[in-house]
């Protein structure tokens, strides 16, 4: 029997480390492109201020990148350490994008980042520019492969169950590669990264403009960030809307949870703007609805339904019952009865095997599950609604606020008045946390919304965990939290110090603190 506490602690550890990792990733994705754009400006115009911009923002990029790399190793290790049955069960498919990510993307990014920092005097301008672009391309390709892996967890196509090896095996790589969920997720995620990079540069530049320091430097940075950010936030919102238009059953469950759709509405469904979802009573308190809007977003039509939990849970119960039969057939096959009849019967049923495995949490012998246990498994075949409902709304709200900020900043810099309105500068400064809030909420929607599955409809999270002890996970969780806290302190300390110093930290002798001969500020 699997220890429930080990599963919960492992989930907590994975969630914490993934959310922490993603504090650094989006900034890497976005800032690498901004660096490439700035350096392109340098190579084309020959103005050294653009080189200084590349170097200064590159310094901050480096501080951030170091932690992205550090926390990324944890992610790769954890599938094996804490989710070993998962690794066995789907490694044949899931491992492929991870390995290709290493070969195709991470090598590229990491090799050229060395030249980005150390190669300025060692090569021609154009060669160095190529290195910078390759870093940006590498980091984005890296995101592509990781999201192909993640997309497959949400919508596992292109794979088949093999009863002999007791695992899923790859059937079609092109299905995995062109998985629609992965495609939409990739563009949405990298665009969110560009927004993060842009907001970071916009915000820090606003700080210099408010302080009236290094104005030409800050104004150019502000302008690049405003235009790049506006284009990016528009893509995030449009593509986020695209990802609302979903495929796959688990995505439908996620949609129902995000919208707190306890009951299937008559189409076109209304959009719930505000509510307190109640999981026990399966209804919402204090609901505020906008008619038609959800139907339009989710189905792009006036007559298609958005399925609610009143239909999803009974459907899942049916599939759990079929899953029990599938499991019984699997046991028969594994006991040695490999007659064509049994094989055919299993082939018919195998798509419900995952639902049968949901019962493992409630009984050792799936085939002897009682009615009560089946009902309980069906009730728990959906994620908790309230956290999803709220995180989704926070994400969307943050997205729209950023849209307004970027729009205002863009108009201002287009009018060449970026040292003008202080209100816009303050708004840009204080909008700094928004892209991170939105991204973290987005991941909670995506991954918490996938529960109780680790691989949608194939493998329950509960089954995926390793056979390890509680003490081991508590030990690792404690160590990781202690390390991550210390690293965060060092990172924030350096970031603050270098953002306050600004381009004076380059030691060129041309910027604020060097010119006025004041002592450098301490963080």
């Amino acid at each position: 029997m699997i220890d429930e506490a080990v599963v919960d602690l492992s989930r907590l550890q994975f969630a914490l480390t993934a959310l922490y990792h993603f504090l650094f990733v989006p900034l890497t994705l976005g800032l690498s492109f901004i660096l490439a754009i700035m350096e392109s400006c340098y190579v084309m115009s020959g103005k050294t201020i653009y080189r200084d911009m590349t170097k200064f923002w590159g310094k901050l990029f480096g501080i951030n990148f170091a932690l992205g790399v550090t926390t990324g190793i944890t992610m790769e290790f954890q599938f094996g350490t804490n989710w070993s049955y998962y690794s066995h069960y789907v490694g044949d498919i899931f491992g492929v994008p991870l390995a290709i990510e290493g070969l195709m993307a991470f090598f590229l990014e990491s090799t050229f980042i060395g030249l980005f920092f150390f190669g300025w005097d060692r090569m021609s301008k154009v060669q160095h520019l190529i290195c910078t672009w390759l870093v940006a391309i590498g980091s984005n390709l890296s995101a592509l492969w990781i999201l192909i892996a993640n997309g497959w967890m949400q919508y596992p196509i292109g794979a088949e169950f093999n009863y002999e090896s007791m695992r899923m095996e790859l059937a079609s790589f092109s299905d995995v590669l062109f998985n629609p969920v992965a495609q939409v997720k990739f563009v949405h995620t990298v665009a969110a990264g560009y927004v993060t990079g842009a907001m970071f540069v916009l915000s820090v530049s606003s700080y210099y403009l408010l302080k009236k320091r290094d104005i030409p430097f800050a104004r150019r940075s502000f302008a690049i960030a405003a235009s790049f950010g506006l284009a990016s936030i528009l893509s995030v919102i449009v593509l986020g809307d695209e990802s609302g238009y979903t495929v796959g059953d688990v995505q439908k469950v996620k949609l129902a949870a995000v919208e707190a759709e306890w009951e299937t509405q008559k189409p076109p469904a209304g959009f719930t703007l505000f509510a307190f979802p109640d999981q026990e009573e399966k209804r919402n308190h204090f609901e505020v609805k906008i008619p038609w809007m959800l139907g339009l977003i989710a189905t792009r039509s006036l007559d298609e339904e958005v399925v609610g939990f009143d239909r999803i849970i009974p459907d899942n119960e049916k599939r759990i019952r079929r899953g029990i039969e599938a499991y019984a057939l699997l046991e028969k096959l594994r006991a040695g009865d490999t007659s064509q009849e049994t094989k055919n019967a299993f082939a018919d049923m195998q798509f419900d095997l995952g639902y049968g495995l949901l019962l493992k949490r409630y009984t050792e012998n799936i085939t002897d599950a009682t009615d009560e246990q089946i009902k309980l498994a069906a009730e728990h075949s959906i994620p908790r609604v309230a956290p999803l409902f709220w995180t989704f709304r926070i994400m969307v709200a943050a997205g729209f606020i950023m849209l307004f900020v970027f729009l205002a900043a863009f108009i201002q810099s287009a009018r060449h008045r970026s040292a003008g309105s202080r209100a816009i500068l303050y708004a840009s400064l204080w909008a700094l946390p928004l892209p991170w809030i939105a991204a973290e909420c987005g991941w909670i929607v995506a991954e918490y919304g996938r529960q109780p599955w680790s691989i949608a409809e194939v493998l329950p999270t509960y089954m995926s965990a390793s056979s390890i002890s509680r003490g081991e996970v508590i030990g690792s969780l404690t160590a990781i939290i202690a390390f991550y806290t210390a690293l965060a302190v060092a990172e924030v300390y350096l970031m603050l110090r270098f953002t306050r110093l600004g381009p004076s930290s380059l030691g060129t002798g041309k910027y604020h603190f060097e010119l006025i001969g004041k002592p450098e500020p301490q963080a």
Binding site: S87, G91, D92, F106, S110, G114, F118, S165, L170, G475
Partner: protein, 377 residues
């Protein structure tokens, strides 16, 4: 391509990735280990760190990719080893945390306490993973106490302290000495002056240690450790899983492959010879010393790999459940696909990595660091 060949290719490719990791990331881990030993002043240490500054990140990807490749090509090995050696892996992970931040953050603030702290971090980040990887390899030779249930769920029945068998500790020290030698040999290429002389001495000392520890581990293996061999199995080119074979103890010290193909003895012998060449050439020929040190690293790892072949992860709890490169692999489609990816990308990686090293060729000097104080590590 038939399944059997693909399985064999993946054994070789994972070997290539692990050796690539030990040779490249090995030298920057070695530099980390030596940082406090031969770096007497802050400037010494900055020079040392900047010799690996442009490269350590790319080097570390050998490790990450080896992990990803084991996940994809040998999922069961990845699952059983990483969950079984849980505490050891978490310890390695925590030690590795120090490296990216250590390299990047250390010299950004001019404060002796801050820098000293990260120097310790870089030392730990080099020493601890090297030790644990060696200990882990030693334990593979001894067999690990894991088993698989009928659903092929791995479970481990030992503890972290159970890994600290004296033989495994010798392997751990061998690994530490080897990477320190590799670090020393690298510093010979990239430094000058007093630091160069110290790097030469430390390479010689560690190369001597490598010879002694390697021979010691070899003798112990031959005299004191039972290997395993497969008694009965289905054809290795078939779809097989780890519960389909019979394995027996015997094959004293894992030497069956060497006895069957005596030419293979060249690998451990070459391991000793290259370590000796590194020792002898350290004062005179730094390029050759680095090449022979790298070759030594490859030979030592290969010696262990060939000894275990076809085993990857022998089980001491139930030898029949040992994982081999024939039966713990991915499907034929996955192996074929990944092989194609490797054929395309590995040459490209080698090409641009070589270009990167060529661009950064030359010794790092004190003057360079002083001039570029704001952009160097």
């Amino acid at each position: 391509m038939d399944y059997e060949t693909l399985k064999l290719i993946w054994w070789i490719l994972i070997g290539v990735l692990l050796i690539g990791f030990a040779i490249t990331d090995g030298f920057d881990m070695g530099v980390g280990m030596l940082l406090r030993i031969i770096g007497k002043t802050d400037m010494d240490r900055r020079v040392m760190i900047n010799t690996v500054g442009p490269h350590w990140e790319g080097n570390q990807v050998w490790f990450i990719t080896a992990g990803g490749a084991i996940f994809a090509a040998w999922p069961m090995v990845y699952a059983a080893a990483f969950s079984g050696l849980y505490s050891a892996l978490i310890l390695t992970l925590c030690a590795l945390f120090f490296r990216p931040v250590g390299f990047d953050y250390r010299s950004k603030i001019d404060d002796p306490r801050w820098r000293n702290m990260w120097d310790w971090g870089l030392t730990i980040g080099g020493f601890v993973p090297a030790l644990i990887f060696g200990v882990a390899f030693g334990n593979l030779m001894l067999g690990l106490p894991f088993e698989l249930d009928p659903m092929l769920r791995p479970s481990y029945h030992g503890s972290f302290f159970g890994l600290l068998h004296p033989f495994a500790l010798i392997c751990g020290l061998l690994s530490v000495a080897m990477l320190a030698m590799q670090g020393g040999a690298w510093l010979q290429l990239k430094t000058h002056g007093l630091l160069l002389i110290r790097a030469q001495s430390i390479t010689q000392i560690t190369a001597g240690a490598v010879i002694i520890l390697f021979v010691l581990a070899g003798i112990w293996l031959l005299l004191g450790i039972d290997g395993m061999h497969i008694v009965d199995t289905k054809p290795v080119g078939d779809k097989i899983h780890p519960l389909m074979k019979t394995v027996a103890y015997g094959n004293r010290g894992w030497q069956a492959n060497y006895l069957q193909y005596p030419l293979l003895w060249a690998i451990p012998v070459l391991g000793i010879v290259t370590a000796a060449i590194t020792l002898l050439l350290s004062r005179a020929e730094s390029v050759l010393a680095f090449l022979s040190s790298s070759l030594c690293v490859a030979c030592v790892i290969l010696t262990a790999g060939v000894a275990l072949f076809p085993f990857v992860m022998p089980s001491s709890r139930d030898p029949n459940m040992s994982l081999t490169m024939w039966d713990a692999t991915s499907s034929q489609l996955t192996l074929g696909l990944m092989f194609a990816a490797a054929v395309i990308f590995v040459p490209i990686i080698l090409l641009y990595t070589a270009w990167c090293y060529r661009k950064m060729f030359g010794r790092v000097t004190k003057e360079y660091i002083e001039e570029n104080s704001h952009s160097s590590y």
